[in-house]
Symmetry: C2
Subunit: 200 residues, 2 copies
């Protein structure tokens, strides 16, 4: 048996290889790095995984991640509960929160509709969104899914379910990225930027 088949090492490298964007070479490098850590630090790393996985679950209201029953955004009385911003995943919440501009509530779909990849409406948190619209609190649903074909299709699908409830459905604006060079913008973005032009 060649030494690089050392079972616990190979097993650890295999685990790293499961992570998104990590190939066989990087997995080896990471496993090797892990062995070079003091035993205490490796234990801390392992504990952080188990701890996070055990304590963190979906918020009962918005499906954001939380270690309580209800996430800190839903629990915040200063948030505008009449607007729900619908996003694909938790990292989108993080991105929007960083703007410090949009003090609304969220709804995390945990996925995006994709018939190609077999992701159907009942596999993402659409039912949970509709349940939140039953009382009259919500006045606007902002579709903040990605500006991709799948993100667009998901926004359209959900808007068709929400509009009949008499709730306004909006979509994030398309246009030039701030600081972006006009000549490098693709035609589709440019077309959208022209369509969405506003008076100064």
């Amino acid at each position: 048996m060649p030494e690089y088949n050392l079972a616990p090492f190979a097993h650890l490298a295999e685990q790293f290889e499961r992570l998104p964007g990590i190939g066989a070479k990087t997995a080896n490098k990471l496993a090797y790095f892990m062995l070079s850590l003091p035993e205490e630090d490796a234990q801390k790393f392992a504990d952080a995984i188990v701890d996070a996985r055990k304590k963190i679950h979906y918020c009962k209201i918005c499906c954001n991640l939380t270690d309580k029953d209800i996430c800190s955004i839903c629990a915040d009385p200063k948030r505008d509960k009449s607007i729900i911003c619908v996003v694909e995943d938790v990292r989108d919440v993080m991105a929007l929160e960083k703007t410090q501009e949009f003090f609304v509530s969220y709804h995390v779909l945990h996925g995006i509709l994709s018939p190609m990849r077999g992701i159907l409406p009942d596999m993402i948190k659409i039912k949970e969104l509709l349940a939140r619209l039953k009382d009259d609190t919500v006045k606007e649903v902002v579709m903040a899914t990605d500006a991709t074909i799948e993100g667009e299709a998901t926004a359209m699908y959900i808007s068709k379910l929400v509009k009949p409830l008499g709730i306004k459905v909006t979509r994030l604006a398309y246009g030039l990225p701030v600081g972006g060079d006009l000549e490098y913008a693709d035609e589709v973005t440019l077309t959208r930027a022209i369509q969405g032009r506003h008076e100064l």
Copy 2:
């Protein structure tokens, strides 16, 4: 507190960020992926880390990684013990073993001399190498450190310690990479390839 400061999540992301080549964004992505795993799988991942770190240590002879006293290469009676191939780290052993051409023993330095980064001779496994040369078993030491300035310097440094013991010291050949296009080779490599030319 914004939700992305969720303590166990932030702590896990921090741990991932310690890994080489992993930045803040990737660390977030990996931590998020870990939360999306079934709890059982997250536990397995954590166990693999602790298990590997606990069971794997340096071979008493060659400083390769092993879960026994002596690694499987040193324990192999078919290996040519008269040749020691000196490498920087364990991944180099893996790479050389993959050639299936070089059935010798190894010595893993676990680092490379670098005064710039403060890595001095007593911080890598040079003492352990010299101790192995005391009896008359070893006839040749092959310096297989990287073809970088630091690798070259380390090879020179060690060869100066080994040669006085009457042991042959060799260095891996420089030249064109197999399958490489001559016109794309840099001048230094090409010069070395010319110097190292051999009769056909």
